[in-house]
């Protein structure tokens, strides 16, 4: 038997679930029935949601996406390492090492201030133009470097915020035990800092997974470029929709996971 209060709570909960379900269905139905009423819908459907073209292009696009995944896989660890190094540069306290600190600050300011696609262009075409020989002028190398440079600047800032979020009393405790500054950083500050910024970095890497497509500007035929080829071949935008679907298959679970980590961490801290 439920008490009066429990019964009431149960009723309230059931009602709010019902309302949520009904309003969701209504919203979907509205989109489903109203959008096709738009005068341009048949044309839009034909050139963006063309099932025939979708089926025809999807396998090749998925194949091209593997290149995105590969580029991501070799960029991500390098970004994490370089980002950490830059963050540590920005944290050095000894006056003799001030140039490092200055370098860290300029690095993050400059690279976060330029659109990624510009860096990809400038480095991807510019550096090989200096006269490097193959394979050292490969757009894969320099395009990846452009991503690594840009993203490590963001990741460095995230690491730095993590380092700063570790309370100064932790450093004091470590130093009072006679640990050297580098040991203090390595064993006390960094492990805590890195753990705290995992969700923020996850979001960075989700963004990276998408920005890998920018490498197509300097040659590599990854999924965005392949979709572009199909687009001009079939004069139809459906391949772009297919590419978007492929990205979502990866990024939605990753985003959910990052959010999950983030809220878990917030619960733990409060």
């Amino acid at each position: 038997m439920l008490t009066i209060r429990q019964a009431h709570a149960k009723r309230v909960k059931q009602r709010s679930i019902t309302i949520a379900v009904i309003s969701t269905i209504a919203a979907i139905a509205l989109v489903y029935f109203l959008v096709p009423l738009a005068p341009g819908w048949p044309a839009v459907k034909k050139s963006f949601f063309n099932a025939e073209i979708f089926i025809k292009t999807f396998p090749t696009l998925l194949d091209a996406f593997m290149l995105d995944v590969m580029i991501f896989l070799w960029c991500a660890p390098l970004i994490a390492i370089l980002g950490l190094i830059i963050a540590l540069c920005r944290d050095v306290r000894s006056p003799a090492l001030y140039p490092l600190r200055l370098f860290g600050a300029i690095y993050t300011d400059v690279l976060r201030g330029i659109p990624v696609v510009l860096i990809v262009y400038l480095i991807g075409f510019g550096v090989p133009g200096l006269g490097l020989s193959r394979p050292w002028n490969s757009p894969y190398i320099w395009g990846s470097l452009a991503l690594i440079l840009t993203y490590s600047a963001y990741v460095a800032e995230i690491f730095r915020s993590g380092i700063e979020s570790v309370h100064s009393s932790q450093r004091a405790a470590a130093e009072s035990l006679g640990l050297s500054p580098s040991d203090t950083m390595r064993f006390v500050v960094l492990p805590q800092a890195i753990r705290r910024v995992v969700p923020a970095n996850m979001n960075m890497f989700i963004a990276l997974q998408k920005d890998v497509a920018l490498l197509s500007f300097i040659g590599p035929v990854e999924v965005l470029r392949q979709a572009g080829v199909y687009k001009s071949l079939y004069a139809n935008f459906t391949p772009y929709v297919a590419a978007a679907v492929i990205f979502l298959i990866i990024t939605i679970p990753a985003t959910r996971f990052a959010d999950h980590l983030m809220s878990k961490q917030q619960r733990e801290r409060s």
Binding site: G40, A43, V44, K46, S47, F48, F125, P128, G129, G131, L132, S133, R134, N137, S138, P139, S216, F217, I218, G219, P220, V221, R225, G228, V229, K231, S232, L233, Y234, A235, N236, F237
Partner: protein, 277 residues
Amino acid sequence: MLLKSSLSIATVCVGLLLSTSSAFAADSCATGKTLKDGVLTIATGNPSYFPWVLDNDPKAGKGFEAAVAYEVATRMGFDKDNVEWTTASFDASIQPGEKNFDFNLQQFSITEDREKVVDFSVPYYSAAMAVLTRKPIQEKGAKPELESLKGLLWGASSATTGVPMLNKLIKPDDKPLLYNDNNDVVAAMKANQIDAALFDLPTAMYLGAVVLDDGVVLGQFPADRSENPDQFGLLMTEGNPLKNCVDEALEAMKEDGTLASIEAEWLQQTTSVPLIK
């Protein structure tokens, strides 16, 4: 006798032209079918390239496509002052919705798949595909033979119909690199990231002679080798009522040799470029 008859044909032609053009003004096949009444709006690329349009200024009527456009307009009954120019990319031309042009010309190749989405006029130019490379590559032994081309590192502009041709005909050993536009392809050639690139012949000749310091047009594909010989058409929205009118004008230009003379005036002689074996 012979001379006389050809002369008389010419007179008839001129007479016909004169009489019809005055008739067009009153009641041309384009009346009421254009975007703006009494005005023909033509789109081209931004920028538009030599030798198709000179100095990115189609209004001047210089360059092959600019000249063709004005000739077509005249035959449709629009004098020079009633032609307006605009710019529209390929993407903007194939997307659903209203367009800002009556027809669009910027070396659009006519293909069956594209025909499903837009209308093309009859072709105004048949372009051979050509291989652009640089002297160092040629010196290293690149020859206009399929077997030799296979081993090169290829590039192309991703929007061209040359991409499928590259993959099906040349079948390069290494995956080709594709770029947003011709400028980026050339940038990649300069950076030595690719050995060779596929362009339509006039574009290849221009880029090889003007943009690249050491450019060489290695060879052109004979028409029968191209899967569908690249033919450029004026692009119109699907079901555009102007199509017949445009086609008539182009057909007439072909018949009386105007198109050929425009081509001779603006496009270089291409016979010097060897055929690819």
